[in-house]
Amino acid sequence: MVGNKELQNEIRKIMDHKDVKYVLAYKKGTYGFQTTPFFVSKREEVSQVIFSPFCLNNLTMYIKNEYAKEKIGIVVKGCDSRSLIQMINEKRIPRDRLFIIGVSCGGVIDPKKRSKRISEPLENVDVVEKDDKFVFTVNGKKQEIPKREIVFDKCIHCEYPTPLIYDFLVGDKIEPLGKEDYCDVKDFEKNSLTDKWKFWEQQFDKCIRCYACRNVCPVCYCEKCMAEQLDPQWLRRSVNISENTVWHIIRAFHLAGRCTSCGECERACPMDIPLMLLNKKVEKDIKELFDYNAGKELDSKPLLAIFKPDDPEEDIK
């Protein structure tokens, strides 16, 4: 478990550098179990910084819109560090403009799963990690819940609990929590075309096209998104199954070889659309077809801008 004091100390060290604009971290949210992104720009604010299993935001999302010349400090979990690698590879931000504080993360708590177990109080809450359990203290009452039952799905299969890139690491290196076996994707693939469509039709029918999935995504940063393009207008603004489906196909496709499975799109979605089931499918395919992993190592080239002459071509006539 990451000590807040240690984390705060690292942030203070970063802030000693002259050309640091701010450090992206977490602080306690406005109520209950909430935490919130925190732009630390003054030394006296550092004491508010925390890290806990409630710190679910992928802070690298804020870097995508950052064009400042100064340096930025950022706190990343294992999964978030992959987004950062991807952004550095895509030349969105140079590595040397970043001070990266890695935090080892034993899994973050999924608010949807949590709300079914513990109702959220206004304040007086605490959580600590104890082996493979979380111990919640709510108004003085303690409750233990096994991690696997309450963390995000992505955490159950997390192969990178320790960040892959960092300047400072807070907390000890952690062994992988699980292995990504794509069991959900594989199960879904077994369905007939009709059943697959039936499922996705129901999901996409809910979509209200707020584009939160896009805005929250660290690697969705086109200056003009095709969804907003008016001339030619590929996507109509009307919300119906045809436009919604195309939006989700395009979104998943544009993230092929770029999505690092941080799960923010699915978390942000106000209509509970299982977007990770889509993202994971693409991730699995490109791993199988092209032996490609997004955001794993620096200096890898973008998936769709490279090729091998012997890439698989089973269906081509």
Binding site: T30, K206, I208, Y211, A212, V239, P270, D272
Partner: protein
Amino acid sequence: MIIDKNKINAFINQIISDHIVFAPVKNKDMVLFKQIKKPDEMTLDYNNSRIPPKSIYLPQTETLFRFSKNQNINLETPKKDGRTLLFGIRPCDAKSLKILDQVFTGEYKDSLYLSRRKNSILIGLTCHNPSLNCFCTSVNSSPADTDGLDVLLTDIGDKYYVELITSRGGKIVKNFPGFKPANKEDKKKKEEIVKKAKDSIKRHIKSERLASILDSIFENKYWEEIARKCLGCGICTFLCPTCHCFDMQDETAGDKGARIRVWDSCMYPEYTMQASGYNPRPYQMNRIRNRVFHKFNYLPKNNQVFGCVGCGRCITECPVNIDIIEVVNQAREVKKDE
């Protein structure tokens, strides 16, 4: 009046026969207002719907008129819906519809919205178990507010306490034999439940003199601070029961087409972007400030109501914990403009 819980289904069956009935329907972890054909499709065990019922009167996508582009251009207004009934709406959402009514009437009447509203009966359900982020009591409302409703039901155990608010509501109740007069005991029970609900609301906006306080801090850096972590995703506006902004677009296929409107959000940069490329609200700061001012300054000034009913949806669903209660309460502490 009262109605036994086991008679509710019969009542719903009766109203389904001559109304299009919308009611809360469970969809996995959320509840949405959907048209129901049978009473057992609905659920009354819910806090509030994810999407506010404004979507019934101001659908996310709506045809304004159709056109055909042969030699002679023809324009045609879409057909009106029939009589509708909304069952199980929460008092906060009913109040929001009254706020929207003010927007869509006035000098130019929006016939599409208003005809839907006019032909719709609202049967409300007292909010006996408000959520953590509910704050209706801060914005001149309460869990059993009757404003905007035709009938209000309150769950008092094995029956509902029934309040008739309008004559329309009275008529629909009169037509069903299951309603019986309430006794003192029922009334007392109802009052207890409402009081308990009110007391369980823990979060509050300090709304006194809010409009003038906001006027004095328009230029403050505070808004930049708030906007910094905003994604600009627009969830708060789409899920807001009083947000009504829309975009208008033409769609065509061959020589036929339509002008449609779709929900839009002031949180998007495109919203105010002019054809020349100039954008009067270029930063998220401008947009988030506009949203807060619209709710707590512009609408109070123009229509003498808050543009907020305290449903808490924007707080609960915000992916980055931008909390309107805190935004407003902290705004009071901010240093005034010169």
